[in-house]
Each structure stands twice: as C-alpha cells, then as structure tokens.
Symmetry: C2
Subunit: 208 residues, 2 copies
C-alpha cells in the first residue's frame, strides 16, 4: 500500500487507489490475467474511473511498469556508482539492499523479467539501463583484473553472476519452500543468511 496514513487525507484519491490496486494485481497475476473489473473491485472505485484517469488498461500498465522499473533501477545504480566504497563493500551493500528490497516486494523480479520478455523496448527507454556496465563497480572489477588479483573474465559474467545468486532464489521461492518445507518466514531467513554469504562467494569466484 502506498497511502496507509492514519489520517485518510486527500492524497488517497481515486487515481492513487487505482494505481495501487493495479500494481498489486499486475504483480500477482500479470497483465493479461488482470481485468479492469478486478482493478475496479480491488480499489473500490467505479469501473469507468480507470479509463477516466488512465485512458486504457494498457496505458495504466505502462505507467506502472515505468515507475516500477525506474524505482528499481535507481536503487541499483545508487550502490554501483559510489566512488567511496571498495568492490567488496559494494558487494556487501548491494547484496543487502537487493535482498531487503525483494523481501519487501517478492513478486517484482518475476514480474519485471516476464513482462520485459513481451516488450523489451520498454527497458531501452530507461536511462539507467546501460549505466551498470559503465559503473564504478565494474571499473573496480576490471582494475582488480589488471592488478592480477582477479581472474580475467568478461565483466558481463561478473555482473550476471552477482545478480543471479541474489535474484534467482526469489524467483524459485515456491520450489525452494516446497522442497525444504519452509514457511515464507523461514524462506526470508534463508535469504537473509545469504546477505553475508554472497559477497564472500563472489570474492572467492573472482579471485585468482
């Protein structure tokens, strides 16, 4: 929820109510499986209000998609481009940050990757997308290679691996929970464990 203040102030207007409900439903069920009547019911507004404020279901989706992606990518770039922190510190920071982020919104990775598959262009529009590979994070990695402390491997593999071990487990959470007989709480504890483990693993992976 976006507007869970004690005072039911005017920010909780129809437009926001629609967006909140729509985001929740799109994340849970995807674009096609979510109907405009679902959204109207969930946000407790009249069906026509959706088109009144957002013109169409597609446009509402694109607005939510853009905002969600933007927020997500912004948080990523923040850590990667901090000039003050070392590579090891960045690993620790981004591991912690992403895992907290996804615990707070567990459906986000699957949603983003899934809807991206159908419409890869929406990602291109985001300014921050290509920045990752030109970030301080990657520069530090390449420096380590030059110094001879890291193995010489294309940085794309490095970045991919970091994101893989952080994000993928969340996408498998239904499987992991079933196999290991974990509750959602247990699963989150497991992911919290990984905050410390992942930086160590990555360092071991890249070191000579």
């Amino acid at each position: 929820m976006c507007s869970n203040n004690i005072v039911d102030n005017n920010y909780s207007n129809t437009e926001i109510k629609i967006k909140d409900a729509a985001k929740s439903l799109f994340l849970k069920k995807g674009y096609s499986a979510t109907t405009t009547r679902d959204i109207a019911r969930e946000s407790d507004i009249n069906l026509a209000m959706l088109n009144y404020y957002f013109r169409s279901k597609r446009r509402l989706f694109e607005i939510i998609m853009f905002e969600t992606l933007y927020e997500f990518l912004s948080k990523m770039v923040e850590v990667y481009n901090d000039e003050k922190t070392s590579l090891e510190q960045k690993l620790k920071l981004c591991s912690e940050k992403y895992i907290d982020m996804i615990i707070a919104e567990p459906l986000l990775p699957t949603f983003v990757l899934n809807e991206l598959k159908n419409n890869p262009t929406s990602f291109l529009k985001m300014p921050t997308t290509k920045m990752i590979m030109k970030s301080n994070f990657v520069a530090q990695y390449q420096e380590g290679i030059k110094k001879g402390i890291y193995r010489k491997v294309d940085p794309i593999h490095f970045v991919t691996n970091v994101l893989s071990v952080i994000v993928f487990p969340f996408m498998c959470s239904p499987i992991i929970m079933k196999i290991e007989n974990l509750s959602k709480k247990d699963f989150n504890i497991m992911m919290t464990e990984r905050k410390k483990l992942i930086p160590a693993w990555i360092i071991q992976m890249i070191k000579k």
Copy 2:
C-alpha cells in the same frame, strides 16, 4: 516443432498439432494471453477440435505443463544421481546439459517459474521434485564438507547457486542482449562460454 519429418506421416495428427501449437504459444505468451483461437490458427485446425480432444483450454494447458515439467525434471535428476561421476564431473555435466537444453528452448525457465507461481501445487505432484536434495550430487557435497575440503554451508544454498548461475542469465537475456548489444547468436555464444566457467566458479565458491 515435434513432428517435422520429411514424410507427413500419421503421427502428425490433429491432437499432436494442437499440442505443439499450444505449447509454443503458452511458452511465448503465457496462459492468459493465449486464446483458443490463437491455438486453432497456429495449428491449422478447427476451433472445436481443441475441446473435442482436450475438453477445455485449462485441461490442455495442464497436460502440456505436466509433460514439460516432467521432461525437464527427468533430465535434471539423471545427472544428479549418477553414482559413477565425481562432484566436479557432475558440475561440468549439468552445466553443459542445462545450458544446451535451455538454448534449445529458451522460454522454458520463465514459463515454468511464472506459471508455478500461480499454481505451486502442480509441482508437488511431480515425483522427482524432492529428489534433488537427496541426490548423489548433494551427498557428495556433504561428504566434501565432512572431509574438510568444502566450507560448511547448507546444501540448499549450494544447489540454489548452481541453478542460479546457469538458469538466471537466460531469464535476463533480453536485458543482457540490450546492454551488451548482442544478437541471439552472440548471446548463445556467451552462454556456451559459461559451460566451462561455471564448474570452476562453483568449485572456488565451495572450497575452503
């Protein structure tokens, strides 16, 4: 395509044509975004044939889902339970096998994980699901821990990491291709590179 023989033999009957088209479309667009008319058009059969052979769209989907999952899991267990190979050999084998498998059907991981999120029960029914954690692969890992050559970490993290670095990059392929300006061919070359890199990375990760 399943039935692309030179001779248009009788195996290529209506039922198979429907299943082939439906699988292709479900993988590409998901359940909700695929209409029965899409399937009828793609398989070049009369719309009513879908219900004649499969009773409903949902049932057709469930049959395809089951078969796809079964095939996928069978291939996994095969490698994990080979008593003759060492852990390092298994890492190499499964890395190669999965990457080849997903290159052949790149939409499979996203499809499986996505539809699983909506219906986790279908996975429970699969007999091979829980077998992974009791496989020879995991046993060898735990043995390595006992011997003191591997760090003491819960096997679920080990298995998760292996699958993460293999599967996740495929799910990000649209992003990776965009960021790195890769064609689909280039991307597959990158993934083929990883066949050799992944076993080495994993060994480094788990070693003391």
